[in-house]
Amino acid sequence: MQESLTIDEKLEPDKKDVIDEGVEAGLSRLTPQKISQVINQVLTKETGPRFKAYVETCMRCGLCADACNIFLSNDRDPKFSPAAKVKQTILEMIKRKGKVSKQFLKDTVRIAHTECNACKRCSMYCPFGIDIAYMMLQVRRICHKLEITPLYIQDTVNSHSATMNQMWVKEDEWIDTLQWQEEDAREEFENLRIPLDKDGADIMYSVIAPEPKFQAGLIYQTAVIMHAAGLNWTMPSTPGWDNSNMAMYTGDFEISARIAQVHYETAAKLHVKKIVMGECGHAFRSVYDVGNRWVGWAMPPVDLVHAIDFYHDMLTSGKIRVKEKYKKTVTLHDPCNISRGRGLHNKARELVNILCESFIEMTPNREHNYCCGAGGGVINCGPPWKGTRMVNSREKKDQIERTGAEVLIAPCHNCHSGLEDIVEHYGVDMEIKFFGDIIYEVMEKTIYQEKK
């Protein structure tokens, strides 16, 4: 049913009742006392002056509306503006002192979990800089505490809690995958290695669990890049190798913190100088300014380098050289979590220019880029929500289509999957690639020798 949805069917997600078993089961267990107790606890005890200031300063001017890709994708339906999401959830909870119905909570889960990508674009459009993403995460915190989090993302968080990775990858499966990739990559370089637990390496490379699970080829590519650049690197054989974190998106801040803690302790144990991480946006956010903060690490305790930054360094220093530039026309999607989230958009453009012959800019871009519609844990809410997610991604679809490029570079796993869904669903003729894919394709496969 969801698959057959077309652009012309003006589906109104809020009227269409999506059934999410996790939410339904959770709701059925709730009592009015529990509901008001949890809501009031979060709203008065857990949140502070910042939350209050946001509630009290919002002048309901509606200027944030234009910022939101989901509002734009829904033909400017006022219910989808950032401030409207606050009005329909938090303001009501405050007004009713937490005494809200189950139907209200059901709508709340939908709004906070599937109609906000926590992309922070609206903070740049609100004259007060009100952080609606933060507000929506507080709502998700309430849902977490009421145990009405959508099924699939909750399962992901469960995996995080039990295995310290998001896809139930068992400890041996992880190592086995690395060894298997190492073996495969020896086709390219006969003595290539993925050094495991190398104490005192310069770099610890960390990835997100979907890589060993479904896209092990990406580890292969990175191994080739690391090897060709002649780097002293390692990957941990122990939990802590996964830098992703869905718990931060369900408001399970405790598990989120444990994930970040394990990640950094693993790096500290290996005595590395820095952590280089794969092309992922939300994972960067989780270890750069979310999970680490709950542990009390104001900034990453071990230097954290996103793949874009790393590739940029490799290509500008000449450790990786381009044999022949990539020929197809490319455009670039700036993942919110590393453009708005880390200002890497200019380096990303320099990288594109080093690697590719023709680049078509996407508009809006850089800090102002639209989220892919999958971010903020929305895609992780899984199949029940895919139909509404496709509707909520229409603005993104128009934006990428306007570029007319053959290839879309999306240096973030989450964006990648989200954009794949868009391209497939709407039949956009575009290939989606990581920077790693392109570098692997165009690089000179020789080993860099440092001149002494």
């Binding site: 005890k45 005595h271 104001a298 305790p301």
Partner: protein, 418 residues
Amino acid sequence: MKNEKSWDWHSEKKEIPVKEWQNRFNWVEEHSVSPDGEKIASIVNTDEAEFSVCMNGNIWEETFEKAWCLRFLPDGRLCVLASNDEEWTVCVDGTFWETWFDYIWDLQFTPDGSFVAAAVQKDGQYGMSVNDKAWDSFYENISGAVLSSQGTSAAVVQVDPLGQADIEGFNKGIFAVALNGIAQPEKFMNIWDLAFDSKGEQIASSIRKNRLDYSISKNSRIWEKNFQFSWKPEFINKGASVIAPVRQGGKWLLFKDSVPFWDKSYEQLGKLAIHGDGQKIAAIVSNAYGKWTVSENDKIWDFHCDSMISELFYSDNGSLLIAIFKNQGYWDVAVNGKPWNIKADKLWNPVISSNNEILATRMEKDGTFFLVVNGKVYQEPFDMIFEPKISPNNDKILLKAMKDGIYLRQILSLEKVL
């Protein structure tokens, strides 16, 4: 250790060329050096998909299809995880364990080296094997394996199956602690941070009871109180009590047996260090956001750093409390609250002399390794330094290092270094 006295503390310098190994083999993996510094070994590739171990230039007779995790045991034996015919086991000094598995990892050993353990998987079932004796029962999954000094083993195991995206099943609690392979009957939503008592008989751990309630368990008996969160517990008083950092009312506290132990509350209270049976207790703490320090018996050091304290431990007699910390981008050591100020890029835990007076370690700075003794940097640069050792009568130091492709075993007089 008893036999340290019998080590060669006199030959000033011994050299083993290792660079030439590169010519003999397709490639040579990371070096591992024996505690006495007499042996250096690496996994080497001898042929296509054929590996062996080269020690002091001599190659083991055994070959492997795959091998990883080469480690010298504290008693000087050499140990590697190896595979042939797609089966895996431990190989010690060239001799395989009798039992082979589908996979083996997480190699651990006791401080005297008499017990070697690893996590193992066979036919999709998980357990541990200690000195070639596999657990009697295997489980759906395993994590957080630990080995006590006495050779007892424990891990968190999944005792019930879990379907795809089965959050209800997960809520019921499918994990238990398995001690020496026997899963305890109590099941929990999550179990982390297993800790043995000093006799290797009891297990304490962090427990998540349900979505929101965390607690501490001692032998799977949970404390009465629930907490917002907790970190790793430790045993004190000869295993009679358990202490743990717990979060309550948004603050971190140290609890003992479910009641408050320290008076102060902290922004963060993490890893614990314990001297003896709890005569002295210290913790990595933060008492202002983003600033780290150490609290010893609830008294805070007059010291703080901005990034991280990664390690905290006592010398044997408890007179030295040593922290490895990072401040403004550099790693350093603080002893009883006083920083060395060596500003390292990479830094390892110091070893401590038998009289508890000398600390020796190695650091990397701008790509070069240096020996550091009591905060003083020994100026000779090396390409790599392995863990040093101070002589039993505290007058010499055993330096194991690499320089220009040659492994050096040097005995330096401490006078010269200090």
